[in-house]
């Protein structure tokens, strides 16, 4: 319990709770979960909205046509129209379905897509919970989705769903291995499982430079990490069920795969989960291999231990909030001091650095997102045996070689 509070403190929620207000622990925790969950939900919805439009537009341009351009200016309201259509669909449950599992499956899938955000950083300080085992946590909770999708495949009693679910299980379980091994390469070289520390490692001491800028990114550090990045990204493509590995939902073979029997809001859960999982894979690749929030736009120097929360607490203390004040006065004072902490001196610099960090990270993550879409509209779907061949006979041996090389590198130098 205490650990959980500590982690919430060290993350973005340090901001939300000056100790002066003396709120009870359960309230802080609940507020943290609710606000954090709401933020993640908003981000997921934004990702799904923006990238359904983006994907259709990019697909259009790749096929030398326009894509959706009729709803709103440049077709920008198309995802809204799609959403309205999706919500107004009838919610059907097949009569032969296992009702409980059928209902639970989309929620589990959604949860699996949502949970990694707890530890996935958006910038240096913009983390919901800065866990020491962040990387492990993200990789572990991404795998919850598999259970949900297996349930979605089994519960409706449809052959298409079942085939999709089984294919997905086979595919995801095998691609987790090279993905994990490539992450292990980074863990070995950086010596940490904390995503923040992995980025800090990438920001200093490479090629004989103290501030190597882009050269410090993991992919430029050695050929091994470059290969590991490629393997990680390909495995991530397979893990997020994207073409050319979209066998679980192959339209031309399985109708829609594991979500064939779902409609309306339940279907949109799967849909949002898919787009979010893609973002998670892209952001994780960016953090592990592309320097996360470090570079290409340089961030202003901020003292590493300065935090907005500490400054806020200090200000609140200076202004003597300890006395007998009403709740209203306390809140007003907290708000005023928060503004001071944010917009004066060091606070402003921290804000700027966070904004630049966010821009850097999103630039890389969205770049990778574009590559995913680009790949989808270029390569044809592979057969199930080719999927397995690629994973077990190509990616796995190469990632093992990378791992051994990294081991030697760490042991000798």
């Amino acid at each position: 319990m205490q650990d959980a509070i500590q982690q919430i403190h060290s993350g973005v929620f340090g901001l939300l709770w000056p100790e002066m207000l003396r709120l009870p622990t359960w309230l802080v925790l609940t507020a943290g979960f609710v606000v954090g969950g709401a933020l993640v939900l908003v981000w997921m919805a934004l990702m799904a909205l923006a990238w359904t439009y983006g994907e259709r537009r990019i697909a259009g341009f790749i096929q030398v046509r326009y894509g959706p351009n009729r709803v709103g200016p440049l077709g920008l309201l198309q995802p809204v129209a799609d959403g309205i259509k999706c919500f107004s669909k009838e919610d059907t449950v097949p009569t032969v379905a296992y009702k409980f599992m059928y209902t639970l499956a989309p929620l589990l899938v959604f949860l699996g897509a949502m949970l990694p955000f707890a530890a996935l950083p958006f910038s240096q300080r913009l983390v919901l919970a800065d866990m020491p085992l962040g990387l492990y946590y993200v990789l572990a909770f991404e795998a919850i989705e598999v259970i949900g999708i297996l349930m979605a495949g089994w519960a409706p009693g449809s052959k298409w769903s079942l085939y999709g679910g089984m294919r997905l299980a086979a595919q995801l379980l095998s691609y987790e291995i090279p993905m994990g091994l490539c992450a292990l390469v980074i863990i070995l070289l950086s010596g940490s499982l904390n995503l923040g520390e992995i980025v800090t490692w990438q920001s200093q001491n490479a090629w004989g430079l103290e501030h190597p800028w882009v050269l410090g990114w993991a992919i430029f550090r050695s050929p091994v990490t470059f290969i590991a990045f490629v393997i990680f990204f390909v495995a991530g493509l397979a893990a997020s069920k994207r073409a050319p590995f979209d066998l679980p939902e192959a339209e031309s073979e399985l109708v829609a795969g594991y979500h064939t029997e779902y409609s309306g809001l339940r279907f949109s859960f799967f849909f949002m989960a898919e787009y979010t999982a893609m973002y998670v894979v892209c952001a994780l690749s960016a953090v592990l291999f592309l320097g996360g929030w470090y570079g290409p736009v340089p961030m202003p120097d901020v003292a590493p231990d300065s935090s907005l929360a500490a400054r806020w607490v200090e200000l609140v203390g200076l202004q003597g909030l300890q006395g007998d004040l009403s709740m209203m006065q306390k809140i007003v004072c907290a708000g005023r001091t928060l503004c001071e902490a944010l917009f004066q001196g060091e606070g402003l610099r921290i804000l700027a650095s966070e904004a630049i960090g966010l821009f850097n990270l999103l630039l890389k993550a969205f770049g990778l997102y574009f590559v995913m879409i680009w790949v989808r509209w270029t390569l044809p779907r592979v057969r199930i045996d080719q999927v397995m061949y690629l994973c077990l006979k190509v990616l796995l041996p190469f990632s093992l070689v990378c791992l051994i090389w990294a081991l030697i590198q760490v042991a000798l130098f």
Binding site: I58, G60, F61, I62, Q63, V64, R65, Y66, W374, V375, W377, T378, L379, K393, V394
Partner: protein
């Protein structure tokens, strides 16, 4: 290491290399398409240029029409309907309809027209929402009075013609009688 295993090993790497190279080729191709201009025509705003000799919607000049029904006879699908009062240059066309749900735009009606009162334009967007709307009317709408007046006019002309004919016949008969008398 036998030759066979060495070949298998080399083949594995050759396959891998081919896979990477072909992927790159494909990716480069689609990226080039990504940056090329879409070839889609934004139809209602932009319109294609119609080629010369295009056969679209009909155009009809009522004043030239003699209601000879040559177009009706030429039409392979019987989609033209004509009603009129009178004949020839005096004809008043009360109905000239083409049913575009049946018309196949062959142009035979145009070729058959002796007075060039029917030709085809370049208008091609002829969608309609009901069967009735597919029947396009070309003749000017006539009032009941107009039709009645034209009918009276026609009757009058007919009567005049008859009278003239009778007059002529009588004259002919009158001329013929004396000759007949001579011969007798």
């Amino acid at each position: 290491m036998s030759a066979r295993t060495r070949n298998a090993f080399a083949e594995y790497f050759a396959n891998l290399w081919a896979g990477i190279v072909t992927t790159c080729v494909g990716m480069r191709l689609t990226l080039r398409y990504f940056f090329s201009k879409p070839i889609t025509m934004l139809y209602p705003e932009e319109r294609p240029e119609v080629p010369a000799g295009f056969r679209g919607l009909h155009a009809y000049e009522e004043s030239k029409c003699i209601a000879c029904k040559m177009c009706v006879a030429a039409c392979p699908v019987d989609c033209i309907a004509i009603e009129m009062v009178g004949r020839g240059k005096d004809a008043l066309v009360t109905r000239y309809e083409i049913d575009y749900s049946r018309c196949l735009f062959c142009g035979l009606c145009v070729a058959a027209c002796p007075t060039q009162c029917l030709w085809m334009t370049e208008v091609y967007d002829l969608s309609c929402t009901s069967r009735q709307a597919c029947r396009r009317s070309f003749a000017r709408a006539k009032t009941q009075d107009e039709i009645a007046a034209h009918e009276r006019l026609m009757e009058q002309k007919e009567a005049e013609k008859k009278a003239q004919a009778a007059e002529a016949a009588r004259k002919k008969a009158a001329e013929a009688k004396p000759q007949a008398d001579k011969t007798e």
